[in-house]
């Protein structure tokens, strides 16, 4: 049995998780462009999932008295994979939708890796 304060603590993290998950999903609809939409799921949901995992760890600790490590592993794998997914989506967007000249110059001799210099148009 969990004491009242323990239940309150677990509930608090669950509510925080729910709020951030909801806001992240709402951001997907509300924000105007593909690149800004990318910000909503990568940020607002990390705390959403994090809160649920903390709640799960606490509940497990309070009921069985054993610390569960699975939640930490989920966090670790999430932190390894989330930036890569976001990077893929950003790259695809750069390739397909973003005009080359809308990006700032690199400031070095070379172009952006995902946006190689356009080949000369043979008609010119």
């Amino acid at each position: 049995m969990m004491a009242l304060w323990q239940e309150a603590l677990v509930s608090f993290f669950l509510v925080v998780a729910g709020i951030f998950g909801l806001v992240g999903s709402y951001g997907l609809i509300k924000l105007p462009t593909p690149m800004t939409r990318l910000h909503a799921p990568t940020k607002a949901t990390t705390l959403g999932i994090g809160g649920a995992l903390i709640a799960s760890m606490l509940a497990n600790l309070f009921t069985t008295g054993v610390v569960s490590f699975h939640e930490l592993m989920i966090t670790l794998f999430l932190f390894l994979t989330a930036p890569i997914t976001a990077h893929f989506i950003a790259k695809v967007h750069l390739h397909l939708n973003e005009p080359r000249d809308s990006l700032p110059p690199t400031g070095t001799e070379t172009p952006w890796a995902g946006a190689p210099a356009q080949p000369e148009d043979p008609a010119d």
């Binding site: 992240g24 105007p32 990568t42 607002a44 990390t46 699975h70 930036p83 890569i84 700032p104 070095t108």
Partner: protein
Amino acid sequence: MIKKLFPHPVLTLLLVIVWQMLVNKITLGNIVLGLGLGIAVPILTGAYWPDRPRLKNPLMIVEYILVVLWDICVANVRVAWIILFRRNADLHTTWITVPLDLQTPEAITALAGTITMTPGTVSSDLSADGRVLLVHCLDAGHPDDVRDEIKSRYERRLKEIFE
């Protein structure tokens, strides 16, 4: 002999710990199994990282993780605030470029991942020579401030860890 058995002692230790966490129960059998994996995996994969970087300052990793975790919490609140209460027309979304002092690919990967996980920024591209990072900002009042914060908060620490 020791060098041959443990070509990558940190990875061996990491694999043993991760294995214990995955099975979620520390018993002698699990430690032996984890140790088996910890010895086999570095030997089998050693050929694929000929120039892996040496960690110069491992303690800095702890500080780095704490700073990043704190920033992620702040970022969540800020991004949630922007989503809920700012009109789309008021957003100052921009691209910013971050010139890199880091040289090692592993350090740049860590920096790019960190940028994606923190306040309203997503790293999107790298210049072809690997010297400049392209970052998309959800709401940047002063793009230069964002760039300086990335350089002073994350890049400086990563430089101490890797280089």
